[in-house]
């Protein structure tokens, strides 16, 4: 079996396990807050256009957060 196939089987097993859990449990497992520098440092931000938001992320956020197009 190829690596990709093994990976897909593992994912499907995870999807099936998740499907057996009620939504309440899935949400409890899913929403985990971790502090993100800069991003979480303002209570409110707004952008006229999505492109402005993307540009702001590229310029202001640490690249390791993954909000830019390159690491």
């Amino acid at each position: 079996m190829s690596t990709a196939t093994v990976q897909t089987h593992e994912w499907v097993a995870e999807f099936e396990a998740a499907a057996r859990r009620p939504l309440r449990t899935r949400l409890r497992y899913a929403f985990i807050h971790t502090y993100k520098p800069v991003l979480d440092d303002a209570a409110y931000r707004s952008f006229d256009a999505m492109a402005d938001y993307r540009a702001w992320c590229e310029t202001n956020l640490p690249s390791w957060l993954g909000y830019g197009q390159d690491v």
Partner: protein, 158 residues
């Protein structure tokens, strides 16, 4: 600042937005999680239909939920922004009025999915939005998300 988003809070936001007649859809990873995608996130992404009346209704609902929006911020949202990030309430919410990769709210609404009363974007729209955004984090998630979409469609057919 409280920073959890669990089922009771999801119900609160769903019910408050419904009371105010807000047209919206869960999008992004939070939407995928509602559909059954096992992953983690920290905020709820809401795709809100961009009309003045709908934005006003959304502001009213968010204030009712405890988001500390100033009048100036409310006016901005009602005036038509494409993206608003809120960290001034009981949980983190991103309001997305014009997501990348999705043609229109109407088109997304046509094929949206209801999960326990939560209106959620179809997985194809969640994928399209992430593919168009093309951030590092999106590229990391997309292969597994696409596999989930295929699984989800198979389950719907059977």
């Amino acid at each position: 600042m409280a920073r959890t988003f669990d089922y009771p809070q999801a119900e609160e936001i769903r019910d408050a937005l419904a009371r105010h007649g807000v047209r919206y859809l869960f999008l992004g990873k939070s939407g995928a999680i509602l559909l059954g995608f096992p992953d983690t996130t920290q905020d709820a992404d809401l795709f809100v239909e961009k009309t003045a009346a709908n934005s006003r209704a959304a502001v009213a609902a968010l204030r009712e939920l405890g988001f500390a929006l100033t009048d100036a911020q409310a006016a901005e949202i009602e005036g038509g922004k494409d993206f608003v990030q809120l960290r001034n309430g009981p949980f983190d919410v991103d309001l997305v009025f014009a997501p990348d990769g999705i043609e229109s709210f109407a088109r997304a609404w046509e094929r949206h999915v209801e999960v326990e009363g939560f209106p959620v974007c179809h997985p194809d729209d969640i994928i399209a939005s992430k593919a168009a955004a093309n951030r590092v984090r999106d590229r990391e998630t997309l292969p597994r998300l696409r596999a989930f979409r295929d699984y989800w469609l198979r389950q719907r057919r059977s």
